[in-house]
């Protein structure tokens, strides 16, 4: 059963193109997707998922379930980095612990998108408001992560930083206004306000090309993940274990919460995936600025070269299997 799900997940073209990317690097092919093409694909995917989410919220309306989901989303985005931080502090310094904690508290839009593609495939429905949850979960972990670092770092050391970076308000602003979140939220709002007439005109662009663009994006992710895996060779078993165990733990907690809130199977999977995924774009960019003492190749590579493939390949179908078992 479960194996069947994993297989039907893996036999999706986008996931297969992720493998193509990995393979290309391993056999030393010179295949590459130069910038800014990956940027184009990610702008497109954010636009498409935002617009569709907005459109679907109009269709379904703002129900209590929607409200509860959004509150739970923000909650998880704040709590996950806190317990992650204390686990990480066992083996790593405070800077790296804070940066990695923030990474795992935030989300990966592409993991979400891949999960939603699997659901569409299996004809399991899900709500447009899950995109709003995605948007809401991107940034809080950045703030929590920086807060934790400042709490635990001896006073003197952090002083230059504050004056340079303009303190909290600056951090908050940047966390909420990074380009990805901004485009996603804007597209969602535009999908909301332009209603059906907007949707009809955008659909051939945002809906029908979606799968193909996702294939290209995951191809590039595969190329990058395979290159990054080297960065982790020096990192020990702790870091590698964390990169795989943490997403499962977070996803399971997400599944529990979903059950409590009475979410549907589709929404529960997406919520689990949001909790279980880790950010390799927005959060690293913020951490590079706010916690330059941490090692970017460590936290990016954990999220990108281990947690991302794990979720894409086996995590998603396993979470879905668990949900199916619990829900029935």
């Amino acid at each position: 059963m479960e194996f069947n799900l994993i297989l039907s997940n893996i036999l999706n073209p986008p996931v297969l193109f992720f493998f193509v990317g990995l393979l290309a690097v391993w056999v030393k092919s010179d295949l590459e997707i130069p910038q800014p093409l990956p940027k184009l694909f990610s702008l497109y995917l954010l636009f498409a998922i935002g617009f569709k989410g907005g459109h679907e919220i109009v269709e379904s309306g703002f129900t209590p379930e929607v409200g509860a989901t959004l509150v739970a989303a923000v909650l998880m985005a704040c709590v996950v980095p806190i317990y992650s931080f204390f686990i990480l502090k066992l083996k790593l310094d405070i800077y790296n612990a804070g940066a990695i904690a923030a990474t795992y508290g935030s989300i990966s839009a592409v993991t979400f998108i891949t999960a939603s593609a699997l659901l569409t495939n299996l004809e399991i429905s899900f709500g447009g408001h899950m995109v709003a949850a995605l948007a809401l979960m991107e940034s809080p972990a950045i703030v929590v992560g920086i807060f934790l670092v400042r709490m635990f770092v001896p006073q003197g050391e952090a002083s230059l930083e504050e004056s340079e970076k303009g303190g909290w308000s600056e951090v908050l602003r940047e966390a909420c206004l990074n380009g990805s979140v901004f485009l996603l939220v804007s597209s969602l709002v535009i999908g909301l306000v332009t209603g059906n007439s907007g949707w009809v005109k955008i659909k051939p662009f945002s809906d029908e090309l979606f799968y193909g663009v996702l294939c290209f994006f995951l191809l590039d992710m595969g190329l990058i993940a395979a290159r990054r895996i080297n960065d982790l060779k020096k990192a020990g078993a702790f870091v590698i274990g964390f990169s795989v165990a943490m997403p499962v733990l977070n996803a399971v907690i997400g599944i529990g919460l979903s059950r409590l809130l009475g979410l549907s199977v589709g929404n529960a999977l997406l919520f689990a995936v949001l909790c279980g995924s880790a950010s390799y774009i927005a959060v690293p960019a913020a951490m590079r600025m706010s916690v330059p003492e941490a090692n970017p190749s460590l936290y990016i590579s954990m999220a990108l070269a281990l947690t991302f493939p794990f979720n894409i390949i086996v995590g998603i179908p396993i979470y879905l299997q668990i949900i199916k078992l619990v829900w029935n």
């Binding site: 910038q35 800014p36 990956p38 940027k39 990610s42 230059l160 930083e161 340079e164 990805s180 190329l223 990058i224 290159r227 390799y280 774009i281 690293p284 960019a285 590079r288 600025m289 330059p292 090692n295 970017p296 190749s297 990016i300 990108l304």
Partner: protein, 96 residues
Amino acid sequence: MDTIKRIELVIPAIELKPVLRRLEKVGMDKYSIIRDVIGRGEFGESTDDLDGQLSSVYILTTCPAGEEETLYLELQPLLQKFGGVFLVSDAVCYRC
């Protein structure tokens, strides 16, 4: 046709704005910027994969001899914190 100092900077792309602000503060308001520079330094590899947030930029500017020190003092905290390169060489400027 003055003999001037030719200043080269390689800094993280995300630091471009604060660095330019400091360049202009010390009066070096003529510069060229080459983006999408990759490389390797003390802080590890700088690449432009993903969203390009780890890539670097190269800045070329010029100043009368002596003023490079002023700029360095201004930039030093940033360079120390975020990394980067600060090179000075001699050049003759026919127009700059």
